[in-house]
């Protein structure tokens, strides 16, 4: 890290201008809980860091208006835990935040940073995918919005351009007879990266028997990138919630997943766990909604 430089912009526009003109081999740093260890392991070696951590007035907020919940990119994981909004139907966010790192990491780690890190162990990506979240990306030339489901394009690679900064995550809370749930497996309960994490947003029809909509997301679906399990989600829609439906959906999920092995676990084991979690998630959501159990 000897030749590293640091730029502390005065505001977001200054940061964006800097990236536009001098951003070659720059990295944006928020809390640094992921970036600094990766630099230390020499997995990345930016020549300049652009520090946006002080923009909390502009980028650290949780707001709800017009049926949309908006999280500023610098919202910390502890902020998520302290928000009454994330009980009930949106408890998926609380569940994931509870299992995220440890207190001294949660106190600084940001929602935006977790998403931009784009590893297959990030806790928040499957959660926000299940919620069909959208990301606001700013650059000196303007803003654009991309769906999170299209954001992660490869291992640690995103659709974000080097001149852009993620400023906001937004989503609509689930409507109707709906619930959300999250499961995570690591080698221990706390301060661990996920081997498997899986998030579901489920809505039932008025009969409380039939699945109206399902969005299932995992940290890995094919290869090492988080994604929606589209086939499994589609399979569930329109089906009655029965043991048989869940068993069939587990098979669909197993065929949809194409997982490789690494030091955290084998592809076979991950697939097995993902199927078990699918049952748990469907059953937990259904029970909360008041459907068949």
């Amino acid at each position: 890290m000897s030749s590293l430089e640091l730029y502390s912009p005065t505001d977001l526009n200054d940061a964006l201008r800097f990236l536009e003109h001098d951003g070659k081999n720059a990295a944006v740093i928020a809390s640094g809980t992921d970036l600094l260890p990766r630099m230390r392991r020499r997995q990345i070696s930016p020549s300049i860091l652009v520090d946006i951590s002080s923009f909390t007035e502009d980028l650290r907020y949780i707001r709800q208006s017009d049926g949309t919940i908006r999280l500023g990119a610098l919202t910390t994981v502890t902020d998520l835990l302290e928000t009454p909004m994330f009980y009930g139907k949106l408890s998926i966010i609380r569940e994931a935040a509870t299992l995220f790192g440890a207190p001294q990491v949660r106190n600084v780690a940001t929602v935006g940073g977790n998403i931009c890190s784009a590893a297959s162990s990030e806790d928040m990506i499957p959660v926000f995918m299940a919620l069909d979240a959208k990301l606001k990306l700013a650059s000196a030339r303007g803003e654009r919005t991309v769906p999170l489901k299209d954001f992660v394009v490869g291992k640690r690679q995103t659709a974000m351009k080097p001149v852009e900064i993620l400023t906001e995550v937004s989503f609509s809370p689930p409507q109707g007879h709906s619930w959300t749930a999250y499961e995570k497996l690591g080698r221990r309960n706390m301060l661990i990266l996920a081997m498997v994490n899986e998030a579901l947003s489920l809505a039932l029809e008025d009969d409380l028997q039939t699945i109206h909509s399902a969005r299932l997301a995992l940290n890995r679906v094919s290869g090492k990138i988080p994604a929606l399990a589209v086939k499994t989600s589609n399979f569930l829609e329109g089906k009655r919630v029965t043991d048989q439906t869940i068993a069939e959906a587990q098979k669909v999920l197993a065929s949809e997943l194409s997982l490789t092995s690494d030091f955290r676990g084998s592809g076979e084991y991950r697939t097995e766990v993902a199927q078990v979690y699918l049952r748990r998630l469907v059953e937990r959501c259904t029970r909360q909604i008041g459907g068949p159990s």
């Binding site: 260890p37 207190p103 990491v105 706390m190």
Partner: protein, 157 residues
């Protein structure tokens, strides 16, 4: 590469320090301000023994750049030695033999103090969560958990 002049309020005193871009908070605290209760373990956020308070929140000082703390308030164990809650917690650690090698003890005390501020009578589960980011390399967790329970205001009954 030019050094950057910043000011960090450490344990109640404003300290002007000169830092390089890659310097982390732990580097400024240990090497420039000689605060050796802040230990360096894994340097990657996995062991938590560098924990300090920044603006009142527990953080790993190895995962924060010193320059990011310009104008902020940092508290280390040295700054809490006269604090009544900390004194009670330290006494409890001593009484329960909670320090074996002692390497994690300052961070455990910081996390305990942070917990004690928020909860007078924490459950075992709350205590475990509070110290979940700190690795005791001797694995003496039960003594530590007992110490924290007794060190909290209403836990000693």
């Amino acid at each position: 590469m030019a050094k950057r002049a910043i000011t960090i309020n450490v344990n109640g005193t404003e300290h002007p320090v000169q830092v390089d871009a890659p310097d982390r908070l732990i580097d400024a605290l240990r090497d420039q301000l000689d605060l050796r209760s802040v230990k360096e373990g894994c340097s990657t956020g996995d062991c938590g023994i560098c924990a300090v308070l920044v603006d009142g929140e527990l953080v790993n000082s190895c995962l924060m750049l010193a320059a990011q703390c310009d104008g902020r308030r940092v508290t280390t164990l040295e700054g809490l030695l006269e604090d009544q809650t900390m004194k009670r917690m330290q006494g409890s650690f001593i009484a329960n033999n909670a320090a074996q090698c002692g390497f994690c003890t300052p961070a455990m005390l910081m996390a305990s103090w942070d917990l004690a501020r928020h909860s007078a009578e924490p459950s075992s589960e709350e205590i475990k969560v509070a110290i979940s980011g700190i690795l005791c390399r001797c694995t003496g967790y039960y003594q530590i958990i007992d110490s924290i329970r007794e060190g909290c205001e209403k836990g000693g009954r």
